[in-house]
Amino acid sequence: MTAYFKQDGPVDGAALDGMAQGVLGRPVPRIEGLAKVTGTATYAAEYDVANLAEGVFVTATITRGVVKSIASEAARAMPGVLAVISEARMTTRAAQGTAGEAPEQEPQRVSYWGQPIALVVAETFEQARDAAKQLVVEYDADTGVALDPATATSEPQEDEAIDMGDLNAAMQAATYSVDMTVETEGHASAAMEPHAAIAAWEGDKLTVHASLQMLNYNISELADALDMDETNIRLVSAYVGGGFGSKLGISEDVVAAALASRELGRPVRVVMSRQQVFQCIMRRSETWQRLRLACDADGKLTGFGHQARVSNLPGETFAEPVLQSSHFLYAAPNRSLSMDLVRIHRMTAGSVRAPGEAVGMPALEMAMDELAEKAGIDPVAFRLRNIPDRDPEGNLPFTSHGLAECLRQGAEAFGWESGTRKPRHRREGEWWIGTGMASAARVHNASEAKARVRLTADGRAEVETDMTDIGTGTYTICAQIAGEMLGLPMDRVTVSLGDTDYPRGPGSGGSWGAPSIGSAVYLACKALRGQLAKRGNIDEADLVLKDGAVEGGRSVADLIGGEVLEEIGHYEPGTNEHDYTSSGFGAFFAEVRVNHWTGETRVDRMTGAFGFGRVLNEKTARSQCLGGITWSIGTALTEALHFDPRDGHLANPDLAEYHVPVHRDVREVEVLMLQERDPLASAIQAKGIGELGMCGGAGAIANAIYNACGVRLRQLPMTPDRVLACLRD
């Protein structure tokens, strides 16, 4: 049976909160955690497959043009080499998130430096890697290829543009205003597990073990790339070693492994090298942003302008959605928002954790800090003064709105000293010390999701869906929801994920995973409760289940009576998506030290307060927020993709020179989570949290740097050279 629910309005909050098991929301350790800490969790490249051949990519060394010839014969003569694959169905970039269709194919057409053009397959990895490196390729290279986002052809993004009132007039009339530009450099997801796939055919049936976030879309993308029927494909991603957007769409390894395996008639494994992951998956676009903010003498915003320029390859529709939360975060009657996409031949731009807000929010919050200073208002108070009652552009109500509460609770926990602020007021030895804050916002989305829940004859529950757990805690929260609804302790619930043989989940992306799949599991369990209630001759609403039994009555196993009960929960967002604006909110507070001599910045402590509806698991939710704050530190201080200006190749394609934060960069971090229910966000009153923790955090650090040493930086990351260039003695 399928329990289907389309959400057209608020859900009744009582159901989940009225359960007796008391496991939902609790800081339960991850149910798959023991496998992870003992090294027994199996990731994509780690399946023990007999007769496995190894494939290694060869990548383009020109920016744009065509591959004229590939010296395949010479490669095939090398020890152990089985094949050189360069056929037209190979994909040349990863699919964009939720594409559901194949990305660009035809590898002989090169559109960025580092693009895969061939796959060398050999008996061993060592043989394949050597032969791939030796492969001689000739090209016809184009000249005069656009590489500089500042001068390339621009396409206005009409969907993003808003003009309300008269911003120019508001700026003219304002008591205080800021008009500033901020530039941010590109980012990489840099998930710790490189993209990898093992493909094997049995007749016309293809099975691929891969590292992917959204199997529900990936299966369609792979079927489209290979021109085959989805029913003949099985994708398995039981464990995913981090995604952060980079594994939303199928990557080149998946298709290449499938094609090579087909040609050779044996299983093929393709693991991308770290350099290849950097060069041919996804980058977050660099951004150029102009912020214009105007306010009256009381610090009420009267004008709000946010203009952005981002880049991508020709043909790609993705444009880093920089303005996403700017549309609704602050009230102001006169608004002008616009965005341009420029076309350049750097690697594909796509989703990297919190696309849009990750860089748009810090820029906005830097501008808000400057305006608060000009108006002589405490920055927390300034934000509190400008929180809208309704979405200022669509005039829609918010599903729930925790910003004010997060600002207040965060300020208190951090020990924020309110009042007028002065930079360069605290120095310890060589170090300037200061504090700063920023708001957090990240749009909330839910997505269609299905999950099967089975009650077995012995009274255990089994949850099955092709949803993935990329470190987000999906395994555990699914078990908690099922345990809560069905009155089962955690050790009597098993969760199987990441296999397209199971019902379609929502995929892990856009922070919608937990609320969406959680809703599907909830619906299935609610239907199962209905079945149990019927068998017990009571009303479902009166059914109290705890520890495997009806409270004070028969056991669940007894009620089931030797059968197996099964329900598929099917959740779909409805008119709630259009009738409301929905977002997670929060606030960041940071204390930093800036070295007077060297310009080095260290974040001494950070507090983040977040409101995102129901907290499903205090432990894993907190970890998501910690992760976001860690990314905020990287965004603020160290992370930048550097592209060669002459051929557009990524000049720091590894973890030595693309600086993700290390342990020592992350000092004291405190996370507060509001106890909130959002009856419009999802059937379980929860919103997404995977990205919120980095949506604005870099702005708090930038503002703290100013408060510490008096330097207003307008470029991220704020590396020592940039600090020093502005620091006065």
Partner: protein, 167 residues
């Protein structure tokens, strides 16, 4: 060459191809995939193992260089039925998310506790002759293990618990 390497107490024959890294040897020849390949160039620490009790990046060394030596991997530190104190502490403190860097983090942390006991100094030691067990010391000593999920604060808590209570 009929040389062997001892891995978690069992002897294994050297691969014929000298190019095989210790990491690939563990993953592809011994079948122990708990040791992870994150970068293959000594830039992430996911491949950390102990060789004769000393932590190293198994990607930047050849299996051939370790004949007659004893390698301990994450699987040798504890099992799902009998996890080590650090493995239990990582679980309790949520010292991981996706789990991919985790075996390397735990191997590193295992060695770290010995190194602090032996009073090895670090870049965070105020006094080279008397390193302390400050948070900053632990963070510096763990900085060779990247975690992109950002579990650093929880990893610190897990290590601190074991360092202070022995469990």
């Amino acid at each position: 060459m009929s040389e062997t390497i001892k891995v978690n107490g069992s002897d294994h024959l050297m691969p014929a191809d000298a190019r095989v890294s210790l990491l690939d040897f563990l993953r592809h020849y011994v079948g122990l995939t708990g040791t992870k390949k994150g970068c293959d160039h000594g830039q992430c620490g996911a491949c950390t193992v102990l060789v004769d009790g000393v932590r190293i990046n198994s990607c930047l060394t050849l299996a051939a260089m370790h004949g007659q030596q004893e390698v301990t991997t994450i699987e040798g530190l504890g099992t799902p039925d009998a996890p080590s104190d650090l493995q239990k502490a990582f679980l309790e403190h949520d010292g991981f998310q996706c789990g991919y860097c985790t075996p390397g983090q735990i191997c590193s942390a295992t060695a770290l506790l010995d190194e602090i006991r032996a009073e090895w100094p670090s870049d965070a030691s105020d006094d080279l002759n008397a390193p302390s067990l400050s948070d900053e010391e632990i963070r510096e000593r763990m900085s060779g293990n990247l975690c992109r999920c950002g579990a650093y604060a929880n990893i610190l808590a897990a290590i601190r618990q074991v360092a202070e209570t022995g469990a």
